[in-house]
């Protein structure tokens, strides 16, 4: 005698899974929520904890969604759910920024993916660089309290877990060159042009 398993309607389990994930994020049962955000600089993966936005990753530059989430699982927590609504404020602010209607991001930030000490200080100083302005790696080293550590400052900015929102694209080489960028120099150029800098670079 055979007992075939019950049949499910197409998409039924996926819809229930999405409802469960949203509930887990809303009630704070999941420690980490993520979503994807389309933007003029390519698809982004936004990751938040109850403290704030912890990661904004260029999807393709970071090996794709799975690799980005594996990294977050390892470094923060595996209690990760996809919860687009939970990241609506981030999505909205990014859209406004790319539409030219926003200069400063107001979402709270969670710094736990940047190593404490010099690296984090550099990134926190970087978060203060105003829209449309630029700094040099040396400026950042000085601001973080180690004037000679401009190379390390470059490294810290290169490891920025929250690019765009923490505007490491506003930091250039002292020579006047672009320097480097976690999302590739094309994106750095594009972000700077969005911000109205008439860069002869």
């Amino acid at each position: 005698m055979s007992l075939p398993p019950p049949e499910l309607r197409p998409g039924e389990a996926a819809a229930l899974a999405a409802r469960t994930a949203a509930r887990a994020a809303d009630q704070g049962i999941a420690e980490v929520a993520y979503t994807t955000v389309d933007s003029p600089v390519g698809r982004l993966v936004a990751v938040a904890t109850p403290r704030g936005l912890a990661r904004l990753a260029y999807e393709l530059e970071n090996g794709g969604l799975d690799e980005i989430l594996d990294d977050v699982a390892l470094r923060l927590s595996p209690s990760i759910v996809e919860a687009p609504a939970r990241l609506d404020p981030v999505r909205r602010e990014l859209e406004e920024y790319f539409d030219g209607h926003r200069q400063d991001f107001d979402v709270a930030l969670d710094w736990s993916l940047s190593r404490e000490g010099f690296r984090r200080r550099v990134l926190q100083e970087c978060a203060l660089i105003p829209f449309g302005a630029t700094r040099t790696y040396k400026d950042m080293a000085i601001a973080a309290g180690s004037p000679s550590a401009f190379r390390a400052a470059g490294g810290a900015l290169g490891s920025n877990p929250i690019p765009i929102v923490v505007p490491c694209h506003r930091v250039l080489a002292s020579s006047g060159g672009l320097g480097g960028y976690t999302g590739g120099l094309e994106r750095k150029r594009l972000l700077l042009s969005i911000e109205g800098g008439s860069l002869a670079l």
């Binding site: 005698m1 007992l3 994930a21 993520y34 799975d66 595996p78």
Partner: protein
């Protein structure tokens, strides 16, 4: 926590990988009406325990065991409360047995009416596709006891169907 957490996939991937299996199992074991809530309760419970899960766990067996416990809770609650008429009245006058439009095959209604252990083993075996060894782990019984309960359950089902055919 760091060492075990390091090897677990992000919860969302685990949820996506097992949501169909868990829902299929719950539809069979508690019926369509209660399956949605039981599904959410199952994965919320799983999420709470997830970061402390030992590395190398059998994730599918683990989540189905949680679903199994939710199903038991529902059956116990029904034991205390009146059962909806639709759940029990599928006697000869409603035959022949056929899959309902929702796809919750009539045979699972009959399975749900079996003694608890037979119901549990048959749903875990045929709706969740667990091995007898995995069922034994989920039910805290021996593999032999699981096999015996499955055989008893199937015999009862077969007998019921024969009776139905005789009266039809």
């Amino acid at each position: 926590m760091m060492t075990t957490a390091a090897r677990l996939p992000p919860f969302q991937r685990f949820l996506d990988a097992h949501s169909e299996d868990v829902l299929r199992y719950l539809v069979a074991s508690v019926g369509r009406h209660d399956a949605d809530d039981a599904f959410q309760e199952t994965f919320i419970s799983a999420l709470r325990a997830y970061p402390r899960l030992p590395a190398g766990s059998n994730l599918r067996g683990w989540v189905l065991a949680i679903a199994h416990r939710k199903a038991i809770d529902i059956h116990r609650a029904r034991g205390r409360n009146p059962v909806p008429v639709a759940e029990i009245h599928d006697g000869p006058q409603r035959s022949p047995p056929a899959a309902s439009p929702a796809g919750d095959g009539d045979h699972w209604q009959r399975v749900r009416a079996l003694p608890a252990r037979q119901r549990e083993v048959l749903t875990l075996r045929y709706a969740a596709d667990l091995t007898h060894a995995e069922i034994a782990t989920a039910l805290h019984c021996t593999e032999e006891a699981a096999r015996r309960a499955a055989a008893d359950g199937l015999r009862n089902l077969r007998k019921e169907l024969t009776d139905v055919a005789a009266t039809a």
